[in-house]
């Protein structure tokens, strides 16, 4: 089990001033390096002494990784932009308020001041067995302690478990996926742009990673196209306490409506699987339909088809069903069913 200590293990701290320098360092140290963005996830790992990197590459001094700018009617957000800055940016508030809502619900004001959008979308899972230092599948072992008959698995996956049942805990990730964002990644071989849908990877593909970033790559920016600018947005996060907590389930939707008819929609739920879960079957089913209680009810039921619950997380099924229902219906005044 992890024992939190005040003194972190010894490592070399590098503070490069450019992306190229950062990549050179990561390429040199490979898997022995840890990338430090806001540090809110990384410091826990270091203090728990569960990760003992030889080198820590702090991206905080790289100016080109910070800031929000307009790009072809959309936005490009530097990966090291603090969440507070994302929340306050006028274009985010005007055209992509879904991201504003999601970012504003992350943790606490202090954490949003320090935490970055790149760190928020790339953070590791919160499975407490894994973070407790147990040698589970995700930590390179051969068992998932959260998926046993006696496990405490209230926060874990109801979809796409493949040996590991950990979930993605990000709030901004589903919003960015609903906004059809792309991730700009730089590595020794140059730049590559990955659609958000392909950025996060589940345990079936790689059980030790949450996203496609190789050890010598960094996420430099997130691009949001104008496709969903100004659409009708809905974001809701359910958590145990109303501040400084990770989602039990959250939902993000971006919808284009003509009159009462749904013309276009991107609908994403997170914290139910190891990757943000885009509900394509629901999107297809509701397009062309009237935005009303009946459509919302159908969408909610469809959304949870195929869910496989664990010992303590069956509540996530009605929770997700109702969140999807509310996202389709929009506005307030939802009634809960279970």
């Amino acid at each position: 089990m992890a024992v939190i200590r005040d003194v972190m293990p010894v490592f070399e701290l590098y503070q490069p001033a450019s992306i190229d320098d950062a990549i050179k360092l990561l390429d040199k140290h490979g898997a022995d390096a840890l990338v430090l963005a806001g540090g809110l996830d990384s410091m826990d790992w270091l203090k728990d002494r569960l990760k003992k990197p030889k080198a820590v590459v702090d991206l905080g001094a790289i100016k080109e990784l910070k800031g929000v700018k307009e790009l072809n009617g959309g936005l490009e957000i530097g990966a090291m932009t603090p969440l507070t800055e994302v929340v306050k940016h006028p274009m985010v508030r005007d055209k992509f308020s879904l991201l504003m809502e999601a970012a504003e619900l992350v943790a606490s004001p202090q954490i949003r001041n320090q935490g970055t959008i790149g760190g928020n979308v790339s953070q590791d899972t919160r499975c407490w067995y894994y973070r407790g230092g147990w040698t589970c599948y995700r930590a390179g072992g051969n068992i998932c302690y959260a998926d046993t008959p006696t496990a405490v698995n209230r926060e874990h996956a109801i979809f796409d478990a493949d040996r590991c049942v950990a979930v993605n805990p990000s709030d901004t990730a589903p919003a960015l996926l609903a906004l059809d964002a792309s991730m700009v990644i730089r590595g020794p071989k140059g730049e590559r742009i990955v659609p958000a849908e392909e950025y996060w990877i589940g345990p079936g593909i790689d059980i030790t990673r949450m996203n496609v970033l190789a050890p010598n790559e960094i996420l430099t920016a997130i691009r949001i196209p104008s496709t969903m600018a100004g659409a009708q947005f809905y974001f809701e996060k359910v958590r145990d306490r109303q501040v400084w907590d990770f989602p039990l389930v959250n939902v993000a939707s971006a919808m284009v409506v003509s009159g009462d008819k749904i013309d276009k929609i991107r609908l994403v739920v997170n914290a139910v699987a190891a990757t943000p879960r885009r509900l394509k079957n629901v999107e297809t089913a509701v397009v062309g339909k009237t935005r009303n209680e009946e459509t919302a009810d159908m969408a909610g039921k469809m959304a949870v088809e195929g869910a496989q619950t664990l010992r303590h997380n069956a509540y996530k099924v009605p929770l997700m069903r109702n969140l999807v229902k509310r996202a389709i219906r929009g506005g307030a005044g939802a009634t809960w069913t279970s």
Binding site: T135, G140, N142, C144, Y145, D147, P149, D162, I205
Partner: protein
């Protein structure tokens, strides 16, 4: 290089978790090195079949043998190819992700594993009750053949015994594949309740952490061993002088001449065409 990987159990004990995947690269390298070395050697080595004159004499002696001699019946061939397909799926799904090709491999792996286990069970029953069970095993009786083969490898013209139904190398390979295949299959079967298959209730705790460690290490060692063994098998299957054996695994038979060139009729008796004719090996 650590050959084994260890982890800490919830009770603070150090337990085995896996073999080091460096062993996969070692096995792959050993397999490739073997075929390069063997192929180089074979460039300068004569084929070890009987001379034409000797074979002609045998043909005259055993002229009543059928022109096509069954080497593998349909069941045996079906088993072989189903097992081969399952083995390839197992190896590719196990090791491609380690080599960097990422895909959802677990479902393919356990399904192929079940196919392999089913085919092995079939093979055990089939070989025990319907085939000549002992023809594939090696024992003290094979020492003269081993001695003759070794002398031939060193360039001596040795008239000594030829092989029975299966050449000595074939039987030694079978022995190795029995250990590696059963090691991988038995440990793989034990792992089925660890994953979501829908076939059995999940229960990862029915063995202790330490026993699971040994299970995973055995599975890993057998798996990396199979990489080298399969490379060697495929290599021999495609070698020109062995092609007649490979062909027999497809068509089921060899010709009378191939039988007399490569085998010892007394060690692999074959029935003649009619009951009054002399059978090979039973003269």
């Amino acid at each position: 290089m650590d050959l084994l990987r260890w982890g800490r159990s919830p009770w603070g004990e150090w337990v085995l978790t896996h073999v080091s995947w460096s062993l996969f690269w070692a096995s792959l390298f050993a397999g490739v090195l073997f075929f390069v070395a063997h192929a180089s050697y074979m460039l300068f080595s004569a084929h070890r079949k009987r001379t034409s004159a000797e074979t002609d004499a045998l043909e005259a002696q055993f002229k009543n043998l059928p022109p096509k001699i069954e080497r593998h019946n349909l069941s045996a061939r079906l088993f072989h190819w189903i097992m081969a397909a399952a083995m390839f799926v197992l190896l590719f799904t196990a090791f491609l992700p380690i080599a960097g090709v990422k895909f959802a491999w677990v479902q393919w792996h356990w399904i192929a594993g079940l196919v392999l286990i089913a085919s092995i069970l079939f093979h055990i029953v089939h070989a025990t009750f319907f085939l000549d069970f002992w023809s594939i095993w090696v024992g003290p009786k094979d020492i003269p053949e081993l001695k003759a083969e070794m002398l031939r490898e060193f360039g001596h013209d040795v008239p000594g015994p030829k092989s029975g139904k299966y050449p000595l190398g074939n039987r030694l390979y079978h022995l190795a594949i029995v250990f590696a295949g059963l090691g991988a299959s038995i440990t793989g079967a034990l792992m089925i309740p660890r994953i979501r298959t829908g076939l059995v209730a999940r229960n990862p705790y029915y063995l202790s952490d330490a026993t699971w460690g040994i299970t995973y290490v055995t599975h890993g060692l057998a798996g990396v061993g199979l990489v080298g063994l399969v490379i060697a098998h495929v290599y021999f299957a495609v070698r020109p002088e062995k092609w007649w054996i490979t062909k027999s695994m497809i068509l089921g038979f060899i010709t009378r001449r191939q039988y007399l060139e490569h085998h010892e009729p007394s060690r692999w008796p074959v029935e003649a065409k009619s009951s009054d004719a002399k059978s090979a090996g039973r003269a």
